[in-house]
Subunit: 263 residues, 2 copies
């Protein structure tokens, strides 16, 4: 159930790659394992000739999408970052959420995250690191499958029912003996998340961490993101964390235009 790697050089509907495909394949050559690449690496990873890679990398560098350091290695550039900061599900959402995440951090001093769904994964768009040394394998831009994280359970529980059922029926990757891999158990967990409004993921990614998550809603009531706190499993006080996480999630929802229904 981990996300399939997207084809680097394919955006068209078949046939030979277009100029657009080739340019995007240069950008897609960069990822978390490869944040800095020389021209040869780019050409190999993008499946382009050195001549074509040289021409495209030159154009991207001139425009500011890539930056070349003294040693000739290319990095993603500040101009691409500035444009990407406009992504409503990236920095723009983060900007609205940040004061509430700061409040949650100040109230708890634990690891605080904001995540959205992309396909079968959660993508973390904000992460304030707490004082506890819990083994949190999270960074901004990191991905994990939905069923294994608190934020993922919150997003899956409140998302489209058709998508949810397809996800539950698919293969559920396992990371620890505690990861939910039984579809029936996952369905029960998700029903419980909908009932309580809170998702708890206990040692599903690492043996030492527990997360508590709550959904973030937009003006139309749909769930756009989830907030979570990750703490060491050993001394996790779930009943204490739940209200704090819920208050933060509701605060962000209000800032996004959501108005709670009168019960």
């Amino acid at each position: 159930m981990t996300a399939l790697p997207r084809a680097l050089g394919s955006t068209g509907t078949g046939g030979s790659p277009t100029a657009t495909d080739r340019l995007l394949s240069v950008l897609a050559a960069f990822d978390h394992e490869h944040p800095a690449l020389c021209l040869t690496d780019i050409s190999r990873r993008a499946g382009l000739s050195l001549t074509t890679a040289h021409r495209l990398v030159g154009a991207l560098a001139e425009w500011g999408a890539l930056e070349r350091d003294e040693s000739g290695v290319y990095h993603v550039g500040l101009r691409l970052w500035e444009i990407a900061a406009l992504a409503p599900r990236g920095l723009a959402l983060r900007q609205i959420a940040l004061p509430y995440l700061e409040d949650l951090y100040e109230a708890t001093h634990e690891n605080v995250q904001l995540a959205v769904r992309d396909g079968s994964d959660v993508v973390y768009i904000e992460w304030l690191s707490g004082r506890s040394a819990v083994g949190v394998h999270i960074r901004v831009g990191a991905r994990w499958p939905l069923h294994a994280t608190g934020v993922g359970l919150a997003l899956l529980a409140h998302g489209d029912p058709g998508f949810r059922e397809a996800y539950c029926a698919g293969e559920l990757a396992s990371f620890t003996p505690h990861t939910i891999t039984d579809p029936a158990r996952l369905r029960r967990e998700l029903a419980e998340v909908r009932r309580t409004g809170v998702a708890v993921s206990d040692r599903q990614i690492t043996e030492d961490a527990l997360s508590v998550a709550a959904p973030v809603r937009t003006a139309d009531g749909s769930v756009a993101a989830a907030v979570s706190i990750v703490v060491p499993h050993a001394d996790a006080q779930v009943p204490v964390l739940v209200p704090a996480v819920r208050v933060a999630a509701r605060g962000i929802s209000r800032a996004l235009g959501w108005l709670p229904e009168r019960a």
Copy 2:
């Protein structure tokens, strides 16, 4: 001295735009004033025919660089944001700096910023908003000319001497009666910043705000960024803020591999 707008559709060395130029012109159509665009807007702002814009926008949307909402409006997409998060001067630097910025925020509860230089501007790559209602016209991705901000003075003072002199000799934009517009005064200020290690910008952008900034160094000792705090001018306690800002800047510098020389 404000940055010249970069030509939207030009990356080549003249002549008719290439396929690369056209694709980048679609991305460049999005900015802080235009974070959401319909196809017609994109075609007009990018200087492309509707047919060409339709084809390029389709390819970018399929790849995930753009996302289309229910109303047919396009936004910058999560996949572009994920790749842009790899920019060493964007989110990557921010990720290293964030714990120190959080500490500075907790110690002061004021507006805390991290900025880098791009051409004649500072670009804010992080901003934690404090409790004070000072009129801070800053957001992530925002730009201001170097001479008018604390972070800009810190970056200009410690940057390349040739660039510094060219900047001082250029036109210095004015925002308030307090903005430094006299080249001789700017040179004196910058010498003082180098001497003290701290830059103070007093009511240069708005009449009510004062900022205190310090440089962030990398392993080779060069200044890569600056940290600042912005407070209301009326009750600014500069001597109190200076040590806190300097400690945060040195902490980030150490995390970037800088080792202070023995004096």
